[in-house]
């Protein structure tokens, strides 16, 4: 058997990189624990508290009649926002794709706009528009319109950039301008995918529209907040079960519809 020292060792660069990565992660986690005050004791006691609390969540089905109207409003908010947001996203989709944009400056502006839109979460939009427009379904719709634009424009422009460039060139060679080229060579190629994305965004919007009510943007979330503030945990439980069922249902519908598309 050879002496340990004579064994070939992995190259130095690799070892240094591995060590640095480990050190970086270790430092990040130490900092994270310090900054957030998170520890394992809190984890365990938190989990215990959670399950104790969960035990109290026995649904009270007599709350159902109160639940329906805001539940329907939640779905309406998601639906209206998905449609308006999708329409508004379309120009951004084509301006933010390198193969269909008008010029490099517009491309850059559209992409930057997209990056900013995408960095703002649904609930933040909602809180912002509740402050601007007041409580109710309106700020919810406006918030989700912006949210939809961010999500859809990103997915859409990735799709447009991946299309077959042949037809684009053929139409350009035939003397068609940018808009006509988009309508004839791009839209047919991306339409099915886009519709499937819109369904997917609707799915996300239903989930989002449930929670934005918690900051006052209408729908079932607002009722949930009221029950929570009055410590009406049986009502809370009923809402949670209903939300669960509706989200599952809409997800199921969306998955089914998307499978039909492609």
């Amino acid at each position: 058997m050879p002496e340990a020292s004579s064994l070939p060792r992995p190259p130095a660069a690799g070892r240094i990189k591995a060590a640095l990565t480990v050190a970086l992660f270790a430092a990040l986690f130490v900092l994270a624990f310090r900054q957030t005050g998170f520890n394992f004791q809190a984890l365990f006691s938190g989990t215990a508290d959670f399950f104790r609390f969960f035990g109290r969540l026995v649904p009270d089905w007599s709350a159902l009649p109160q639940i329906w109207p805001p539940l329907i409003q939640t779905i309406q908010i998601a639906y209206v926002a998905t449609i308006v947001g999708s329409l508004l996203a379309m120009p951004i989709v084509f301006l933010a794709s390198s193969n269909t944009s008008t010029d490099p400056v517009t491309l850059w502006i559209a992409r930057t706009l997209l990056t900013v839109l995408r960095s703002i979460p649904d609930l933040l939009w909602a809180a912002l528009f509740v402050a601007v427009l007041g409580l109710g379904a309106l700020p919810g719709v406006v918030a989700l319109v912006f949210f939809t634009m961010g999500v859809l424009a990103k997915l859409g422009s990735e799709t447009v950039e991946a299309i077959d460039p042949g037809p684009l060139e053929a139409l350009r060679a035939a003397g068609a301008g940018r808009n006509r080229t988009i309508v004839f060579a791009v839209v047919p190629q991306v339409a099915a995918t886009m519709v499937s994305y819109i369904l997917y965004v609707f799915e996300i919007n239903v989930r989002a529209s449930v929670v934005i009510g918690l900051v006052g943007a209408g729908g079932i979330g607002q009722l949930l907040l009221r029950y929570l503030n009055f410590f009406d945990y049986t009502g809370v439980a009923a809402i949670i079960v209903v939300i669960f069922a509706v989200v599952l249902l809409i997800d199921g519908f969306s998955v089914w519809a998307r499978s039909k598309l492609i």
Binding site: D164, G166, P167, E169, A170, L171, R172, A173, A174, G175, A176, G177, N179, R180, V183, F184, A185, P188, Q189, A191, A192
Partner: protein
């Protein structure tokens, strides 16, 4: 009077590669020109300067005495709508119907709102059907383009170019993706239509026998320079060996 005129055309790509080194040619109206040369000789580049898909870095191309090279925006689009183009890979919108693909050829002459809405006048629709009939596939109008064979797809490509009612037709290796019998069928369709409508045509081909079969005039290119310009009779095997810079091989023939 020359229909297409290349005036000392030079193309330098952004990579620094000089693909055309000062080409000067005059092509009279109605001539059927075949361009031959090895891969990389600059055939595609030459053809693409005619509709400004590649813009010459020096010199200019005129069609009907209109300087295409200097045209921009609307003027360029008008010039292009008079020039049909056929592609090796057909470049059809596969998910659209054959008819819609052919109608795309009418876009250049359409008012903006009609183009964007796809609201073609009845005459245009009728004309698109006619074009399909002329390439021999009138029954395929409402079939999706991806359901056609390669030869049929290239016929749609020809019909689309034809729908432009062009005076010039460009074809960049239109039969390279097809089998020999289909190649001949497509080439004779192209030639017949060019003859009937008096369309000036430039075709890039790899195959010597096809060039001789169909051309009124053969132009040989090598390294961005025109090294031969003459009739099919003058284009002997020795001339082709000169153009290709090597002895002829069986792959230079498509066969019948």
């Amino acid at each position: 009077m020359a229909h297409i005129r290349f005036n000392d055309v030079e193309v330098v790509y952004r990579t620094g590669l000089k693909a055309l080194k000062g080409v000067t040619l005059e092509i009279p109206r109605g001539q059927f020109v075949v361009v031959v040369g090895l891969s990389g000789a600059g055939k595609s580049t030459l053809i693409r300067t005619v509709n400004s898909l590649v813009v010459p870095t020096k010199g200019s191309v005129t069609v009907n005495d209109v300087n295409v090279t200097a045209s921009r925006g609307g003027a360029l689009r008008r010039a292009r709508s008079d020039i049909g183009m056929i592609f090796q890979t057909f470049n059809l919108v596969k998910r659209s119907s054959v008819l819609r693909n052919v109608l795309a050829g009418r876009l250049g002459d359409l008012p903006a709102w009609r183009g964007v809405l796809g609201a073609f006048p009845r005459e245009d629709v009728a004309y698109a059907h006619d074009c399909l009939a002329r390439v021999g596939i009138p029954e395929k109008a409402f079939v999706r383009a991806d359901a056609l064979s390669g030869g049929q797809q290239q016929r749609v490509g020809i019909a689309r170019a034809l729908a432009q009612k062009p005076s010039v037709m460009l074809a960049d290796e239109p039969v390279a993706s097809l089998d020999p019998p289909t190649s001949h069928a497509v080439m004779s369709d192209l030639k017949r239509i060019a003859r009937e409508d008096g369309i000036t045509t430039i075709v890039n081909l790899h195959f010597i026998d096809m060039a001789r079969d169909y051309a009124d005039r053969i132009i040989g290119m090598r390294d961005g320079v025109v090294v031969f310009d003459g009739t099919p009779d003058e284009a002997t095997d020795a001339v082709f060996e000169e153009i290709y810079g090597r002895p002829l091989e069986s792959k230079d023939l498509r066969g019948a």
